[in-house]
């Protein structure tokens, strides 16, 4: 299998497109992730340090404020007690009698220890909270706080009694001395530290003098530092650390409190604060690291499960040619990827199958096309395809070329009409116009060969679509001798069957007729025998003879009707069609009927009825027959009407009665021979059973139809038939022949035609009048004995209407009185001829002559 060029292109791999592989994206993602994590760690760390400092500083400031407040509260409390006490008049008593003095020192706030002394102005002690005070020596002599007009707080002072640093709060006792509080400073620091706690920041509490130089108390290592001068230490602030007295880096908060002007410093251990912050930030860092690790793991997994399988799949796909079986990528990988791999496998399998199929079907098609072409071209029977619309040949096979003698090119330039003998073409086209069945077998057909000979073939054809055309595939089979014989046999069998049917019909007819004839015959024969063999009364004789006569006539009518029917059915009765006035014809028919009940027949025919083209005698018979039936089947009277009207392009004539009517199931049979409605109400009404059958035949010979309607028994019936209109164009002529004898009229017309004179025929005078108006005939041949209007009366009217210029030749059987002859001559007839042999020719000659003379005059 060769590799197609486009396949090579596919194998070369994907085109280099700007863009990153999934692996690159993964790496970038991981780098970004790590960067962000590092940034976060740094931020956490630096912010934790800052936070730790700030929080330590704030802690220290807060603690210093609280400490200052507490110390001040102590002073306030002292003031609250001491003020009123110092000013109390009882002080004089105490000064006078020291034994009455009882002081005790209770710790006040942070001032855990100290003493209260009542001092004289000279500095000697009156009384004290101390045990066994020295009241003799003037130990406070010269102290600034001793002589003061206002209460005063002095600090720090070295207590001359205890030698420790104290705050002195002195309240003057006017004129006598002062009440002095000596509050030990040293315990304040540890006390505050104990109260507020050192916490994580390991706070240092430091109280100094107002100038900040002298330490009066310290929570850490107090014994070593109290009283020391620490110049410069005051610069410490909460924002920046500074080494404390022991060298430890601390963050200091500072507060002063008013009485005594002392300062309170609180220092937070920076290292401790930072180490706590370190712990915190380390925890955060651990969390960040863990998160990053998890993310890395996830990324890796995603890469392994998606990116890698996709990459491998891509490699596999790239390496496979269309149609290769591809191994599944493997069970690892995300479901979607695995599915993709499977889908791809399936796709490849399908592609392979389809490729194989296409290859084989192409080969097969190629092979089968060749085979079918061989089948078609090499088939021993002539075959061809033709276009259904144009009938042109589309394809012909070798056998057709050989058999018909045309070359393939000649064939393709012809249509299938061209292989038919010309006389068969109309029939063929008629057949082609009809929709053809999908599969058709017809024949035998005659086909014309190129050499002019004709062969008989059987055609098998079916519809196909060929090159977008609706076409038909034809196999033409030469009719073999045996087929021809078979066909002939078949045809003769069909003929025999038809003959058998015909003869069966004839037999039936004969049987029916003989049956119908037996009843009247039985009466005639029977009564005749009675008359011959019995003595009968004259009355009986008359009665019997009457019946015989009646039945004899009935037999005659039957025979006549039957013969007429045979003639009409057999086509032996020649219809002579002529324009006719239907109204006058109906009038004549009505006149023929003698209704025993005496009911007048109503005529409903409009005056302006168009002329009809009929055989007058036959249609007269039809109308008379229908009217006679109407009377016969109206035994109790009832109206009878006859009418006519134009329906579509026909004239309809109807006869309506209110008589016995016809049951619905009999309606379709009434026009059948010998059919009689089988109902007792019409017992005794005699008929041949042929009248309506004759009517039907006559009407149908005219191209019309006859029908019957009845609402049922007792509801009367309506018979109607149609006859064609006389077409104006069909009749025109120079001579109008007014003659009721169709045979003679025909003869006359033939003679006139022989002389080159055209003519029209009217079977009665009424029709003649109407034709005269329409056609303007230039001469008239007139019979005097006419149905309806008589010849003489017509002649008079002709002269009145059209003047005396029209030549009229009278041809008649009538014996004319001299007076009548005279009258006719007065009316200006050219000649009066007596009907007889040769008279038609004579009349025609005379008419032709007078026409010629008239033309001369006119010329």
């Amino acid at each position: 299998m060769g590799v197609q060029p486009h396949e090579r292109d596919l194998r070369r791999g994907p085109p280099r497109r700007p863009g990153w592989s999934l692996r690159n994206y993964m790496a970038l993602f991981m780098a970004v992730l790590l960067g962000v994590a590092a940034l976060a760690a740094f931020a956490v760390r630096s912010m934790a340090e800052m936070d730790a400092r700030q929080s330590a500083g704030a802690d220290a400031s807060f603690a210093s404020e609280r400490a200052a407040q507490q110390l001040k509260a102590g002073f306030d409390q002292i003031a609250l007690v001491s003020g009123p006490l110092a000013g109390d008049p009882s002080m004089a008593i105490v000064f006078a009698d020291p034994s009455k003095c009882h002081f005790g020192y209770a710790p006040i706030g942070a001032f855990a220890t100290g003493h209260i002394d009542l001092v004289r102005l000279d500095g000697s002690v009156v009384c004290s909270s101390r045990k066994s005070p020295d009241t003799t020596s003037q130990i406070y002599e010269g102290q600034g706080w001793l002589v003061t007009p206002q209460p005063v707080v002095v600090a720090p002072i070295k207590d001359p009694v205890t030698g420790s640093q104290v705050v002195v709060v002195s309240y003057p006792v006017p004129g006598r001395g002062a009440l002095a509080w000596f509050l030990d400073l040293a315990p304040i620091g540890p006390k505050l530290a104990a109260e507020f706690g050192s916490g994580v920041h390991q706070l240092e509490f430091l109280v100094t003098s107002g100038d900040g130089r002298t330490i009066v108390s310290r929570s850490i290592d107090p014994a070593r530092w109290i009283g020391r001068n620490v110049s410069g230490f005051v610069n410490g602030s909460a924002d920046a650390s500074q080494p404390d007295l022991n060298g430890t880096q601390r963050l200091y908060g500072r507060s002063t409190f008013d009485p005594g002007g002392l300062r309170v410093y609180v220092g937070a251990d920076e290292a401790a604060a930072l180490s706590a912050a370190d712990q915190l930030s380390n925890r955060s860092l651990a969390i960040i690291l863990a998160g990053v690790a998890v993310m890395l793991l996830v990324t890796f997994v995603v890469y392994r499960r998606i990116a890698e399988p996709v990459r491998r799949l891509s490699l596999v796909i790239r390496a496979s040619a269309p149609g290769d079986a591809v191994k599944a990528v493997g069970p690892t990988g995300a479901t979607e990827v695995t599915n993709l791999a499977w889908d791809f496998d399936r796709l490849m399998a399908t592609v392979k199958r389809e490729l194989a199929d296409r290859l084989s079907s192409e080969q097969k098609a190629l092979l089968s096309e060749r085979n079918y072409r061989l089948l078609f071209e090499g088939h021993p029977q002539p075959m061809w395809l033709y276009d259904v619309e144009t009938l042109a040949f589309l394809e012909v096979n070798d056998a057709a070329v050989e058999r018909y003698g045309y070359s393939p090119e000649e064939f393709l330039a012809m249509t299938i009409k061209d292989i038919r003998p010309p006389q068969d073409v109309p029939k063929f086209l008629e057949l082609m116009a009809a929709p053809q069945p999908a599969l058709d077998k017809t024949g035998p057909w005659r086909h014309l060969l190129k050499d002019g000979s004709v062969v008989q073939v059987l055609i098998t054809s079916h519809s196909v679509t060929f090159g977008g055309h609706e076409a038909r595939f034809v196999i033409a089979e030469d009719l073999t001798e045996s087929q021809r014989l078979e066909l002939e046999l078949h045809q003769s069998q069909a003929r025999a069957e038809a003959n058998a049917e015909l003869s069966k019909a004839k037999d039936e007819m004969v049987s029916m007729v003989s049956h119908e004839m037996r009843t009247p015959l039985a009466s005639i024969v029977g009564f005749a025998e009675l008359l011959v063999t019995r003595k009968v009364t004259p009355e009986q004789r008359t009665e019997y003879l009457g019946v015989m006569l009646q039945e004899g006539r009935r037999l005659t009518a039957l025979i006549n009707d039957f013969l007429d029917l045979r003639r009409i059915e057999g086509g032996h009765l020649t219809m002579r069609y002529a324009p006719a006035d239907i109204k006058s014809l109906i009038k004549r028919a009505v006149a023929l009927i003698v209704d025993p009940t005496g009911t007048p027949i109503q005529m409903r025919v409009p005056d302006d009825m168009p002329l009809v083209r009929i055989d007058g005698d036959s249609i007269l018979r039809v109308v008379a027959n229908l009217l006679s039936n109407a009377c016969k089947y109206s035994p109790k009277g009832g109206g009878i009407a006859v009418g006519a009207g134009v329906v579509a392009d026909m004239v309809e004539v109807y006869v309506r009665d209110e008589g016995l009517g016809i049951p619905a199931d009999a309606l379709s049979h009434v026009f059948r021979r010998f059919f009689r409605v089988d109902n007792p109400d019409r017992n005794g009404i005699k008929g041949t059973g042929l009248g309506l059958a004759i009517c039907k035949n006559i009407v149908e010979a005219h191209g019309g139809t006859i029908s019957v309607r009845s609402e049922g028994l007792g509801k009367g019936s309506v018979f109607a038939f149609t006859i064609p209109l006389a077409r104006d164009a069909s009749q025109s002529g120079d001579v109008l022949v007014v003659e009721d004898d169709a045979g003679f009229a025909h003869l006359l017309q033939a003679e006139l035609t022989g002389l080159g004179v055209s003519s029209i025929w009217a079977a009665d005078a009424e029709t003649a009048e109407r034709l005269m108006i329409k056609k303007k005939a230039r001469a008239v041949v007139l019979d005097l004995l006419l149905p309806g209007l008589q010849g003489e009366a017509y002649l008079d009217r002709l002269r009145v209407k059209h003047g005396s210029g029209i030549p009229v030749v009278v041809v008649t059987l009538k014996d004319l009185e001299p007076a009548e002859t005279l009258l006719l001559h007065k009316a200006g007839v050219t000649a009066i001829l007596r009907k007889g042999p040769g008279m038609a020719e004579t009349a025609a000659n005379m008419i032709a002559k007078s026409l010629a003379a008239e033309q001369l005059v006119a010329g």
Binding site: S511, V547, N679, R682
Partner: protein, 132 residues
């Protein structure tokens, strides 16, 4: 030429004539007219059967082709009725084919006359039938 009814038997025997043609009824009636029979006429098959049931006649003269019920149908009804076992039937028909005759006789008619028939023959048949 007269009937051979035993003298003293005063019961008139009834004969029914059934034919839709009035001329035929007249002919048959005139042929068999006598003092010995009471003749009843029917114009169709239905009336004929009604007359037969009403008068229980000794003889029925049936035209085969009649409107309503045909003569053969009436014949079948008579033969199917045991109480009319004594009723004789003569068929009159315009049908003249062998098969028709056979079917008429098989149906149980006593005699069969084809139109046109001789009145004298008819009379003979009637008398024969009444003696059966």
């Amino acid at each position: 030429m007269r009937t051979r009814t035993p003298p003293g038997l005063q019961v008139l025997r009834t004969v029914v004539i059934a034919d839709d043609e009035s001329s035929m009824r007249l002919l048959v009636h005139a042929t068999i007219e006598s003092d010995d029979y009471c003749v009843v006429e029917a114009v169709d098959g239905a009336e004929a059967w009604a007359m037969v049931q009403k008068h229980r006649p000794a003889l029925v003269l049936l035209d085969v082709q009649m409107p309503g019920r045909s003569g053969l149908e009436v014949l079948g009804l008579i033969k199917a009725d045991p109480s009319l076992a004594a009723t004789r039937v003569i068929l009159l028909t315009a049908k003249a084919q062998e098969t028709d005759i056979e079917s008429g006789l098989i149906a149980g008619a006593d005699f069969y006359l084809t139109k046109p028939f001789s009145p004298l023959d008819l009379l003979t048949r009637v008398e024969e039938a009444l003696q059966l």
